[in-house]
C-alpha cells in the first residue's frame, strides 16, 4: 500500500474528486475516526477549509453547515430558537471539549449508537444536502435507510424547519456526562387541544434508530387528556442488543415508561 496521506482543500469540487476514491475518508471533527481502523485507507481529507461551518436561515428553514460543531450550534446560533429540540439535545451531548470537536456532518456520516442528534433531526423532518456522486437533497429518513448514498459523496448541510413545537428529548444516562443508553425524542404540534403531526423517535435500539409509527398514529388527533398510559406503553415495541452495563429487556421496559413520560413532558413544554 502506498504511503497514507492527508489531503487539504478549500474546493468542494476537489473534495468530491478526492472522495471518488473510496479509501479516502472525510475528516470532520475526527472523534468517530478515532474509533475505526485506519490501516486500510489511503488517506484522510481534512474538511476544515471548506467553509462548511455556518448556520443560516433560508426562507422557512434553518441550514447548518456540516462542519458546524455541537458547541457552535448550541452557543453561537442566533438563528435557531434556543428551546428547539435540537438545541436542548445537543447541549447535553457528550462533554464540553467533545462538543467543540463533534461536527453535525461527522455525526450524520457515522450515526454512532449513542447519538443525541439523529432523534431530534428525524423529529424535525430534517433534510440532508449531499454533493458528489449522489448530489441532492434527501430526507434524513431516506438517507438513514440508504446509507450507500454517502459513497463518493459529501454531506454539506442539514436543513429543517424551525417552528414552535411541543417537544422533549430524554437521555437515559447514569450521570449527565454519560453517553446515553437510549434517547427518546418526542415532538408534536397542537391543533387547538389536539395533537398534530407527532413524532416519537427512539435512538440506541437494535436498529440504532426506531420511529414508533404505531404510537404516532395513536397520538395523532387526540387531546392530551384522552391519552392512556397503557395504550401508549403497548405501542412502544423496540428491542435492544445486550450492552455491557445493563440488560436489553430492562432497557425495553424502561423505554416504554420514558416514552410515556416524554409525551407528557412534551405536552407541558411549548417550545
Amino acid at each position: 500500500m502506498s504511503e497514507q496521506k492527508w489531503y487539504y482543500t478549500n474546493s468542494l469540487d476537489e473534495a468530491c474528486e478526492l472522495l471518488r476514491d473510496h479509501t479516502v475518508l472525510p475528516h470532520g471533527g475526527g472523534t468517530q475516526l478515532n474509533n475505526i481502523d485506519l490501516s486500510h485507507i489511503h488517506g484522510l481529507l481534512c474538511l476544515k477549509d471548506l467553509n462548511l461551518n455556518y448556520i443560516k436561515q433560508t426562507s422557512q428553514e434553518v441550514e447548518i453547515g456540516s462542519m458546524t460543531t455541537y458547541a457552535d450550534i448550541v452557543q453561537k446560533s442566533t438563528k435557531i430558537s434556543t428551546d428547539n429540540i435540537l438545541i436542548s439535545a445537543l447541549k447535553n451531548a457528550a462533554n464540553t471539549p467533545l462538543r467543540n470537536r463533534i461536527t453535525i456532518g461527522g455525526s450524520l456520516g457515522f450515526i454512532p449508537q449513542w447519538s443525541d442528534l439523529i432523534g431530534p433531526l428525524l423529529a424535525l423532518e430534517a433534510k440532508i444536502l449531499l454533493i458528489g456522486k449522489n448530489a441532492g437533497e434527501y430526507s434524513l429518513s431516506q438517507f438513514w435507510r440508504h446509507r450507500d448514498l454517502l459513497k463518493s459523496s459529501l454531506i454539506t448541510a442539514v436543513r429543517f424547519r424551525d417552528f414552535p413545537h411541543h417537544a422533549y428529548h430524554y437521555r437515559d444516562v447514569k450521570t449527565n456526562n454519560d453517553m446515553p443508553l437510549f434517547t427518546v425524542s418526542t415532538l408534536f404540534d397542537m391543533d387547538g387541544e389536539r395533537i398534530k403531526k407527532p413524532h416519537v423517535i427512539i435512538a440506541g435500539t437494535r436498529d440504532r434508530v426506531s420511529e414508533i409509527t404505531e404510537l404516532e398514529n395513536y397520538l395523532a388527533g387526540k387531546k392530551i387528556s384522552e391519552l392512556q398510559e397503557s395504550e401508549v406503553i403497548r405501542r412502544v415495541k423496540v428491542t435492544f442488543v445486550g450492552k455491557r452495563v445493563t440488560d436489553p429487556d430492562y432497557l425495553a421496559s424502561k423505554t416504554k415508561i420514558e416514552t410515556w413520560r416524554s409525551i407528557i413532558k412534551a405536552a407541558e413544554n411549548r417550545l
Binding site: 496521506k5 475526527g30 478515532n34 484522510l44 447541549k91 471539549p97
Partner: protein, 154 residues
C-alpha cells in the same frame, strides 16, 4: 509527516505519524504539561485550547491542527508567573495529585473568557469533560468562582 505548529504563540517544527494525535505530538516535543489520561476523550487530562476552545488533544489528529493556535497550560501561566486561575486553584485547595489540574485550569480559562460571571451550573457544564479522582470537585468549583472574582477585579 513534518509540519510547523503554533504552540503557545511560538512556531514549533514537529514530526508526527499519519494517524498521530496532538496529545502524542505535544508530549514527544516536550510539552509534557499535557497529560495522557484515558485517550478516549473522557477525562480531560490532555485538554488544550485550539483557537481558544477547549478540546481533548487525544481526539485531535495532529495533521488537522496545522495553522491553528494551540495553547497548553504553560501558555497562560508558568511556575514563576502563574495565571490568576492557577493561583486560585492553589488557594482553594483544588489541587491534590495535580494530574487533572492543567486541563481544569484551561477549561476554566476558556469559560471565563466567554462568561466572566458563571453560575454553578455553567461551571459544572464547562468542566463536564474534566475528571478529578482526588478532590471531589467542591474545591475546584470554589477555585473557578474565586478566579472569576479575582479576574473581574484585575
Amino acid at each position: 509527516m513534518k509540519a510547523v505548529l503554533k504552540i503557545n504563540g511560538t512556531e514549533v517544527p514537529v514530526k508526527f505519524d499519519f494517524d498521530e494525535h496532538l496529545l502524542q505530538t505535544l508530549r514527544n516535543h516536550g510539552f509534557t504539561e499535557v497529560k495522557n489520561g484515558c485517550e478516549e476523550g473522557e477525562c480531560g487530562a490532555c485538554l488544550v485550547l485550539l483557537n481558544g476552545k477547549p478540546v481533548n488533544s487525544c481526539q485531535v489528529f495532529t495533521a488537522t491542527a496545522i495553522g491553528d493556535e494551540i495553547t497548553t497550560v504553560k501558555g497562560i501561566g508558568t511556575l514563576h508567573q502563574p495565571h490568576i486561575i492557577q493561583e486560585c486553584f492553589v488557594e482553594a485547595g483544588a489541587v491534590q495529585c495535580g494530574f487533572c489540574t492543567p486541563g481544569m485550569v484551561l477549561a476554566t480559562y476558556a469559560l471565563l473568557q466567554d462568561n466572566p460571571d458563571p453560575s454553578d451550573d455553567e461551571i459544572k457544564r464547562a468542566l463536564s469533560g474534566n475528571l478529578c479522582r482526588c478532590t471531589g470537585y467542591v474545591k475546584i468549583i470554589d477555585a473557578v468562582k474565586r478566579s472569576a472574582r479575582k479576574m473581574k477585579i484585575t
